[in-house]
Symmetry: C3
């Protein structure tokens, strides 16, 4: 089964996300399509990086991930398709694959890129304002129907990558990162991975600081805080990152973290 | 075709609902997945009961319903799978199946339960914060791929049930229930079923009282009220329950009912 | 593969959109269902016209489009099914197909209609408040499973059509239309098509006026305005209509257009 996921900033009100399904079925009638998200903040390439990278690799090998967060639509920005490990990606060349490429580097996965310059794999009428429908979905569908990546464009090896969440800074007994994403429960997902604080006395001998609040120790899960109280907790999120949460995972009441806010984990005295 | 539905409180912004699709396709490539809802209010087990029970049984026999409203994730709450009539359910054992079980009791359907204690049917790395992805979706997918319910865990017969919407109170010529759910049009769905007021002189000889407003008689459908006015009407909802609505089904302007508010149907003098 | 799209004003919170999937799978187990939109404004037949017409015809020939925006549910309004060109539509007969029928007239496509009066193709219990579930989804599914349109009801040739966005008025060097729809980025889609202003000196010799703002010339794409500024631009939208946008397609800050607002394109002196 050829699986395709769609990640966009279109919303789901206007049917612009659904028209991608229609275009895909015209080319790849057997495709199985999953709406990964259509609620990326408008033109927020950084947020798209986090959401796609956190979820794409849980799909079966061979899945084709179409990403349309495309402030440069109709300009001379390139359109690219990529193989990253065993997954395929089709997207504007605007840095939206940076997190997946960083993961590939960490994991030692092979990568391959083409500059999508073969109009025979697009819709006949390419508008200037909707390459999602007219170019990215058709290319994803042709991949799903068996056209090889290499046929779809000219090989290239210089996809644009952008700086993402701040590199973690380490000092003696102190590690600093930043908030990446606020989830729908109001929890703050932070740019600190387990390896980066493994030298600290976890779970009880550390303090986590965010937005002026200090949290003593890390806990295992949401249920370790008392429900209905405003207790802040720090724990490992299912995406692998440090998470700061309030009130049994229904946060956002005591502190109001935002992407980019600094977070610090330090050794308790 | 193995049909699977997903009901969660994840929202659809972060991709957490989509990652369940990816995990399911890895295990059951032919599964046909429907997002029943991902907009249950955060951790609202009562609301999940209403939404799942109102819709699940319209799916084909054999459908597997995965429900992840899970405030106790990572604690020692059990995970269970159930057969209720001809449908399967996979969920935390926190009362989220109470309405479906009440329906099974009313209808005389057989039920069967297992305590999900066989990690070979989960993802290899069980996080503490996302059993939807790591446990419930994989178990649902294994059911879809043909693994029998009984292989997935130890039989049990004591699933947790919780009190739901208030039992209807009947006095002479007066029946009292409560608001269960406010729908997207602002209509109030109330805990009164046709049988419970069949002894009253319907449709014209009754008065329905909610939030201080009194509505004389019951009507057949939304179009029986004048559009653009604020007329309140009482009618039978498609879920089987009493519904109180304003302005041709676009309510919420005159009265502001909330779940738990009392509603009374009484004989007119 | 029998493709079905669903367009409703149900939202996605209550599961009412998902129950249509369940009902369809009972009748047409192989159906491939796309949620075109469930976020039509409540009972907004005009908005449904725009969204369905803009997207439906990108699906494969033979696709069945079920539309449920139905303020008259349970009254004596007719339910109809239609063939428009190579696509099928199932909907209340309330004008929701007007834009698709106008397109058919422009394109010279054949049309065919039936009055859905054969209850054997509905669910056994027709409620008065949810014909989406009880009538329109079953009829769509029977079409998908191979029942011919003509078997489903009595032929008719008088589907209700309603006036849509104002006819474009042309005077010497001046064309007036109106705003049809505000998209999720805040852009205003206007009722002016390329043919209607082809006699004007495009792209640079015209001025577009909307909500008191005057925009000189038309541009090619969003990226032709400077990002982060509040520059207004006019361009051709991917739906074929004139679009007025701000700030690289993230509008709504300088002017606040609303459906029905007049828009004028005039020759510059």
């Amino acid at each position: 089964m050829p699986y395709i996921t769609l990640s966009t900033d279109f919303g789901t009100r206007q049917g612009s996300q659904a028209v991608l399904h229609g275009v895909i079925y015209q080319i790849a009638p057997e495709a199985v399509i999953t709406d990964l998200t259509h609620e990326i903040a408008a033109q927020d390439i950084r947020e798209a990086n986090f959401v796609v990278d956190s979820n794409a690799f849980f799909f079966p090998p061979g899945t084709i991930h179409v990403i349309v967060v495309d402030p440069g639509v109709g300009t001379d920005r390139r359109a690219i398709a990529a193989r990253i490990g065993e997954h395929y990606f089709v997207a504007p060349d605007n840095g939206v694959l940076s997190a997946c490429l960083a993961r590939a580097a960490r994991e030692g996965w092979p990568t391959e890129f083409v500059d999508l310059d073969k109009p025979q794999y697009w819709l006949p009428n390419l508008t200037n304002t909707f390459h999602g429908r007219d170019l990215f979905a058709p290319v994803g569908a042709h991949l799903a129907s068996g056209v090889p990546l290499s046929a779809m464009g000219t090989p290239c090896d210089d996809p644009l990558t952008i700086p993402l969440w701040g590199a973690v800074r380490r000092e003696d007994g102190r590690v600093e990162g930043e908030v990446i994403y606020i989830d729908d429960f109001g929890n703050a997902i932070c740019s600190i991975l387990p390896d980066e604080i493994a030298h600290l006395p976890l779970p009880d001998g550390v303090e986590v600081e965010l937005c002026g609040a200090a949290i003593e120790g890390m806990v295992k899960t949401f249920g370790d805080s008392e429900y209905g109280t405003d207790t802040l907790i720090a724990l490992w999120d299912s995406s692998g990152y440090l998470l700061v949460s309030e009130n049994n995972g229904t946060g956002g009441k005591v502190i109001k973290p935002r992407p980019g806010d600094p977070v610090v984990v330090r050794r308790l005295n």
